[in-house]
Symmetry: C2
Subunit: 419 residues, 2 copies
């Protein structure tokens, strides 16, 4: 299913670059986790089909054209050489018989293991679509379901096209229905939105369609640094330390404040974070998240209006049925209505762009919330708290307890996880 | 666009058989006519593109497999041999500069010329789709329009699937959006309707999908006989004479009463017409047509309930928007509600099955009412009256006047022509 190593998100290259440059000997374990436990993936996808796909990915190498494109994005040539010779580490793949979920883990050096995230997620997402499709009594049925998804997408895109100054990009590689569907979705988005469609997180499609590759940072940055912290003081500081280092390797563009809770992050953030180009609001309700960011900038005597604030969690356009997430239209109107409208905000549209199948065929194709997270760093359990209790994660409950104690839970929410 | 001579309606083979058997030296001219005059076809379709398609059709021959299928339908072997060697006559193709319509005529012996009808109609219909598609600024736009048409079709099919004892077939070859679209429409109809989808008029798809080929008769039968009548008495009688002869060549299945008006036809019909399997209600409002047929059978002491009455003009399923014709659902409910429900009626679904694009993209793809009719028989003008003033047709106004005088206009209606 994956036929190119460039078929990944741009932020993965940036993280791999960061890790290669500064931390190439850190050992990490990434683990795939299906948050939608009611979908017993191992009963849908044959384990051998998944294994075979993953093995095929290991055989892939970046092509010369792809390496040239990567080089054009400003990465140094030694890193491009590293990618040219890089081999994805082996994986552990088993079935948890109790839950019928896959146990899928990748262990190795950070720069290589980190690349597995998107390949593994999109592979599982596509296999789920394909095997669910095989279960239908006719291939025609699947054709019609896809037709319906496209029409629904087009309805949403036509509504979005009416928003003045919209900036939206594709963030849906990891959750896509299929490679082909994502490609069509990108094409339709360009057709309907023109310049309002500002790019894609997917490097392959960015290259193919001469789009801007959009990539920010990832929670794994703070998670890795935190896991390596020797004591609680270092732990608390690690979330800033990582961005300081990042800005020396990549540019100081968009940071994620929510790895251990946005409220504590912003409250104690060092001055230099205010100079980053902007922030991504990820796991917090977007209305609350917007307010918190604006308040933070204003309290610190910065004008929030021109900061690049990216909203990227579970966004949708509400068509009145099977709505699945925050309505971009309402949020945009709300933003414009207030006295401090964000004038440089943008939206990273994921699942509902590349896998907007929710509710079709009685929900058989409903997307799931699948993630691939750092589980261990140099054999120490990693932790993610986020702004949403539902997304808290650690393989070691004691470590999670410690993080909660260190970072506190101010501003945390209990939101249904939008897929 | 046409790649098989079997890609025609079954009734054309039956008429060719009838003409070959009894009237192989009658010279006829068929002419294509666009009733939707607002669509200036020659400004959409390049004349050379049309000419080339028609020339390609002339090069086609029935394959052995196709001839075997025709033979299996009960035609005698000499007729199959005739078809194997038959070459479609040349055509006259010009543009009427005033109206920007094509002048397209076929002249020759009846058995051969009659075959041109469906090939020419579906070719023009498909060329119109294709060239209208080329006018869009993106091929993606066309993809989405087709997606929308399919979803709309599926919505209609799902509604139809709820009708108990529904019998419906594809009558849409001549008006199809494209060959591929018709094929998909047939496949979806089979998927959603199962045994309720009783067949197709299209021989090619009947063979390919092992469906029953559905064919009745055509107006040209009575039109040819009428044109050959020596005087008014013979003229009036010719409409019955042709069916008497038909029933000696093909079976006495479904007749069309409306060539010169159904009311006069039924009123004066000889006893043997009552023994035909049934009637097709074509140009009359289906509610009135149904009533008239039932009355006729009852007056003549026949039970109409088990007669095979086929409704086939401008049918649709009303989705509340862009409805285009008589709603099958309402009509079916009405029929069941009355004290004499037709229990063996069926529907021939044409344009809205194979070209249900009305209203999409601001109506750019709205289907048109295109026909290919007998214009002359042995150099005498042919006439069609039908039950609808809007469908009256003759190349010679004096002849039309004479027919109106001979047959009268009782029961005629002035209906908008449903495409």
């Amino acid at each position: 299913m994956i036929t190119s190593l460039l078929d990944t998100d741009f932020y993965k290259l940036k993280i791999a670059y960061f890790a290669w440059k500064l931390h190439c000997n850190i050992n990490v374990t990434f683990a795939v986790q299906n948050r939608t436990k009611s979908i017993r993936l191992a009963e849908i996808i044959p384990i051998n089909a998944l294994r075979q796909e993953l093995e095929e990915i290991q055989k892939l190498r970046f092509t010369r054209e792809e390496l040239a494109w990567i080089s054009d994005q400003g990465f140094e040539i030694e890193f491009v050489n590293f990618l040219a010779n890089c081999k994805l580490p082996d994986f552990k793949l088993e079935i948890d018989e109790q839950t019928s979920q896959f146990i899928l883990e990748f262990n190795g050096n950070w720069p290589e293991v980190t690349l597995w995230e998107i390949y593994s997620l999109s592979t599982i997402s596509e296999l789920k679509s394909a095997y669910t499709g095989f279960s239908l009594n006719s291939i025609l049925e699947l054709d019609m379901i896809v037709n319906r998804a496209f029409v629904r997408l087009d309805d949403k895109l036509q509504i979005l096209s009416n928003i003045k100054d919209l900036k939206i990009s594709d963030f849906g590689t990891r959750r896509r229905f299929s490679f082909d569907y994502q490609e069509s979705a990108i094409q339709f988005a360009r057709l309907r939105l023109g310049d309002k469609f500002i790019g894609t997180s997917n490097c392959y499609f960015a290259m193919k369609y001469n789009l801007k590759p959009i990539g920010t940072t990832g929670h794994e940055l703070a998670m890795v640094y935190a896991a390596l912290a020797d004591n609680d003081t270092d732990l608390k500081n690690s979330q800033y330390e990582v961005y300081k280092n990042w800005s020396e390797v990549n540019e100081a563009s968009i940071f994620l404040p929510d790895t251990f809770g946005s409220t504590q992050f912003l409250k104690n953030a060092p001055e230099y974070m205010l100079d980053w180009a902007g922030v991504r609001v990820d796991s917090k309700d977007i209305y609350n998240g917007r307010l918190e960011i604006i308040d933070w900038y204003i309290k610190n005597h910065r004008d929030p209006r021109f900061k690049n604030v990216i909203f990227a969690d579970g966004l949708d356009v509400n068509l009145g049925i099977n709505s699945n997430g925050e309505d971009i239209i309402s949020f945009n109107e709300y933003n414009n209505y207030l006295k401090t409208p964000l004038q440089n905000m943008s939206f990273g549209w994921g699942t509902n762009l590349t896998n907007g199948f929710k509710g079709l065929y009685n929900g058989l194709f409903d997307p799931i919330s699948l993630v691939c997270k750092v589980k261990e760093v140099n054999e120490k359990a990693a932790v993610k708290m986020s702004d949403n209790y539902q997304k808290m994660y650690s393989s070691d409950p004691k470590e999670l307890d410690r993080y909660v104690r260190v970072f506190g839970i101010e501003g945390m929410e209990n939101n249904q996880t939008n897929v």
